[in-house]
């Protein structure tokens, strides 16, 4: 083999890792130069996370070699990784909500006094020193669970820095951030590079990748399919590499033919799980045959709004009208019986019972409908199976059989089960929350087409998505939500910059008609 270039902070050679049924990494070569921001991109399931877990010692490669600063190393666990200066900011934060910031940051390398007492004062000092050095402000004594997501991520970064990391891995770091917070994060990352750190930035958001990275490695189906230099490439080239074909980034749809008002929300208020107001008077109208997109940074009340409308969360005030009928106090079942379908944002925990079969999941929430049960008591198994087969065919759900547990399906097919179930009953109103999150591009296209088709059939669609691109390409109107209020309703062609400003409390609102 060639001699190692000294300026490589990290070199992974021929990494292969197989899990039962899937080769997650297949002969992956991955090289990161010292002091660069290197983006690792690919679809979900492309093998990015597995590669980083191998690097961090959370899983062990079946074969292949890791070199850090030119030296071959064996990383048998996170402790080894930390000792070699590797730090990881996980997509799902590795934070303990009931611990303080200080305890979370110190965990694993806690300052002690006496015979092993945790030294709270020293922890405070350490954090103060770190935050000064990198210009990040954090309260060491705050309870982690009480902090907003941006600060939690900051704590994660401080945690990694506290461990003396030279190579920082950030796994999908912007997924939960506001555009402003993302900008701040990028600033922090650039500062870190200036102090000599090396950063691996994992993302599938190509604009961000183009903005922040120096070089890019693209993965597809467990293999590396390209090494790119950021300034020499563009979004289309990366996207093509990622999916292996040309991608339609635009949704093909006819103009909306909006009909009568189907759904009316008046001054709706509700609390979050923690009991604090999350909706502070939301009002809007939704017409038949239109898609109303709700744009907003996560955590501004869109989840609660969807749940209240779907009947799984109680409103504390206001009204919801379906046609002329007041459905405010309805529970999930009555809402659904009234024709409101709901694609929840949490696919695995809420929208599906993972251990249930495809057939069983196909009637979740409708098990008492006359079609599927006799007097709401006994399940009509034959009818249910027929229904499931129909959905599988119509929505192209890739499953060995309708008796397969949905746990064993891919993320995209799991989502298709939900979409099929919710759309299959021809709802009057479709509530779709993050309908394509974590789904491969093929499935995204399919789901987008179905949502538009639903609209064209006359359904009123309310769409919540963290992806501004998705909102803009699907919606007929865009409502911007900020801190529990609809601050503006905008046309779909509104520039992204303006939406971003509105989403973060800036800009002047165009009041709803």
């Amino acid at each position: 083999m060639s001699t190692t270039v000294a300026s490589n902070a990290l070199e992974m050679r021929g990494i292969t890792k197989a899990f039962p049924g899937v080769v997650a990494n297949n002969q992956v070569d991955f090289t990161v130069r010292a002091g660069e921001i290197h983006a690792l991109v690919g679809e979900n399931g492309a093998g990015k996370t597995t590669l980083m877990n191998v690097l961090y010692g959370l899983v062990h490669q079946d074969s292949g070699e890791i070199l850090i600063d030119g030296k071959s190393v064996r990383i048998s666990g996170p402790r080894d990784a930390i000792a070699r200066g590797i730090g990881m900011v996980h997509q799902h934060f590795m934070l303990i909500p009931v611990f303080t910031v200080g305890e979370n940051v110190m965990l694993g390398r806690e300052p002690v006094t006496g015979p092993g007492f945790y030294d709270r004062a020293q922890a405070r000092k350490e954090i103060a020193a770190l935050t000064r050095k990198y210009g990040l402000s954090l309260d060491a004594d705050a309870r982690m669970g009480d902090l907003p997501v941006g600060l939690q991520q900051r704590a994660e970064i401080v945690k990694v820095l506290y461990r003396g990391a030279n190579i920082l891995i950030l796994d999908e770091p912007t997924g939960v951030l506001t555009p402003q917070e993302s900008k701040e994060l990028f600033g922090v990352l650039r500062d870190l590079v200036k102090t000599g750190k090396t950063i691996i930035f994992i993302s599938h958001k190509l604009r961000e990748v183009l903005e922040i990275s120096d070089r890019i490695t693209v993965m597809r189906r467990g293999k590396v399919v390209g090494h790119l230099t950021t300034r020499d490439t563009n979004q289309e080239e990366i996207a093509t590499m990622m999916v292996g074909r040309e991608v339609l980034l635009r949704v093909d749809k006819k103009p909306a033919k909006a009909g009568a008002v189907a759904f009316k929300v008046e001054d709706l208020t509700a609390n979050s799980d923690r009991g604090v107001p999350a909706l502070k008077g939301v009002s809007f109208e939704l017409r038949q045959g239109e898609i109303l997109g709700i744009a907003g940074v996560e955590g501004n009340g869109q989840s609660e709004l969807m749940e209240v409308l779907a009947g799984t969360r109680r409103a504390t005030g206001g009204r919801v009208l379906l046609g002329d009928k007041d459905v405010t106090g309805f529970d999930a079942r009555t809402e659904r019986d009234a024709g409101i379908a709901f694609i929840p944002e949490d696919r695995r925990g809420t929208g599906l019972v993972l251990s249930f079969s495809v057939a069983e999941n196909s009637i979740l929430g409708r098990e008492k409908a006359p079609t599927f049960s006799w007097h709401e008591l006994v399940l009509r198994l034959i009818a249910i199976r027929e229904w499931a087969r129909k959905l599988v065919k119509e929505f192209d759900i890739r499953t060995p059989s309708i008796d397969t547990a949905v746990r064993n399906l891919s993320g995209g097919n799991q989502q298709k089960v939900i979409v099929a179930r919710e759309m299959g009953s021809q709802p009057r109103v479709l509530l779709a929350a993050q309908p394509t999150r974590g789904v491969d591009i093929g499935a995204i296209e399919f789901i987008h087409q179905r949502i538009v088709a639903e609209r064209d059939h006359g359904a009123a669609v309310l769409l919540v998505s963290a992806e501004l691109d998705e909102i803009r390409s699907l919606s007929d109107r865009i409502a911007v939500i900020y801190e529990g209020r609809i601050v503006s309703i905008e046309p779909p062609e509104t520039p992204e910059e303006r939406l971003g400003l509105l989403m973060t409390g800036g800009g002047s609102a165009t009041l709803p008609a």
């Binding site: 877990n53 961090y56 959370l58 899983v59 666990g77 996170p78 402790r79 930390i82 990881m88 996980h90 799902h92 590795m94 934070l95 303990i96 909500p97 009931v98 611990f99 305890e103 979370n104 110190m106 965990l107 694993g108 390398r109 806690e110 002690v112 092993g116 007492f117 945790y118 945690k159 461990r163």
Partner: protein, 316 residues
């Protein structure tokens, strides 16, 4: 109603509280073990079996070597060994921890009597003499305090040990680096693992420690409170300790309060030669009281977030 006034009268006697504390300690030790184990994320309903095993081997060792301290050591190790089985099965093999715990309890009930038959046969288990028992000890000076002297300072050595352990477990869990790590492992093992903490080691340690504490309780029961082994002599204490731990919201002092309620109930019941209430209805009281408290005052109890969930590295 005379029964009720009898009970009220009893509550003013130091004697009752002294007995209540001793009875509570038999529950407190396994309950503390449960707290440690579950704080680290391993559900432990096997205290009953660990305690029974400890009691049995404590007696065997005491009768063989005539040394209560050595025997207590053996009892502690025996409890720890049972706990190790629970740990291996539930940590290494990712077994369901409730099933494993039930299995330990059944196993202990069976193997102890099986071994009594095998080891002692018709001779049956003998009795330890007074000098072979864990002694009572009056703390000089303090034992003369009015009321409190008798309640707190005229007790068996294990009672003092248990009270010290109570404070110690509290301090370790909530004030030390080790405690921080134990709680981190129980709340979010992935976070702990990525922070470089050895999740398995902590969990093994916590579970085995819970076995040590239950084994100590077994020794106290067999060669402190009594002087021999009787089949099933633990009499469900491990389960009551489990209830006390949950009642106490997985905290040492909370569990202690619950243990005191049960201990007090037992001590009041012990006066049935004097009180004239149906002893059976009287015996129900602590359990009914527990239900009422759960229903009214304490309410929702939330275990450590990862309690009972086997940790598989690399999983989400």
């Amino acid at each position: 109603m005379t029964g009720l006034s009898d009970i009220l009268h009893l509550l003013y006697t130091a004697n009752l509280w002294q007995a209540a504390l001793a009875a509570a300690v038999l529950l407190l030790l396994p309950a503390l073990g449960g707290v440690i184990s579950e704080r680290s994320g391993v559900v432990n309903i096997a205290m009953e079996g660990m305690m029974l095993t400890g009691a049995f081997f404590g007696v065997v060792a005491d009768l063989a070597w005539h040394n209560p301290w050595l025997a207590t050591g053996v009892a502690i190790l025996a409890g720890g060994l049972m706990a190790l089985v629970h740990a291996v099965v539930s940590i290494r093999f990712h077994a369901d921890q409730i099933v494993s715990g039930i299995a330990i309890n059944i196993f202990a009930a069976g193997i102890t009597v099986f071994l009594v038959n095998r080891i002692y046969g018709i001779q049956d288990v003998g009795h330890a003499t007074q000098s072979e028992l864990l002694p009572n000890f009056n703390v000089p000076g303090l034992d003369q305090l009015p009321f409190l002297g008798q309640v707190l300072f005229q007790q068996n050595v294990v009672v003092y040990a248990a009270l010290i352990l109570l404070v110690l477990v509290h301090i370790v869990l909530f004030r030390t680096r080790l405690g921080l790590r134990i709680r981190a492992v129980g709340e979010h093992p992935q976070a702990a693992d990525t922070a470089g903490i050895n999740v398995y080691l902590i969990r093994y340690g916590a579970v085995v420690t819970s076995g040590f504490l239950s084994g100590l309780a077994g020794a106290f029961l067999a060669i402190g409170v009594s002087n021999t082994f009787v089949p099933n002599m633990t009499d469900g204490r491990g389960y009551i300790a489990l209830a006390a731990m949950i009642f106490g919201k997985w905290t040492p002092f909370g569990a202690f309060v619950a243990c005191l309620i049960f201990g007090l109930g037992q001590a009041i019941y012990d006066n049935n030669s004097i009180i004239h209430v149906s002893p059976y209805l009287l015996s129900m009281l602590p359990y009914i009281l527990t239900l009422v408290v759960l229903a009214g005052l304490v309410g929702r109890s939330s275990p450590p977030a990862a309690d009972g969930i086997p940790y598989v590295p690399g999983s989400e």
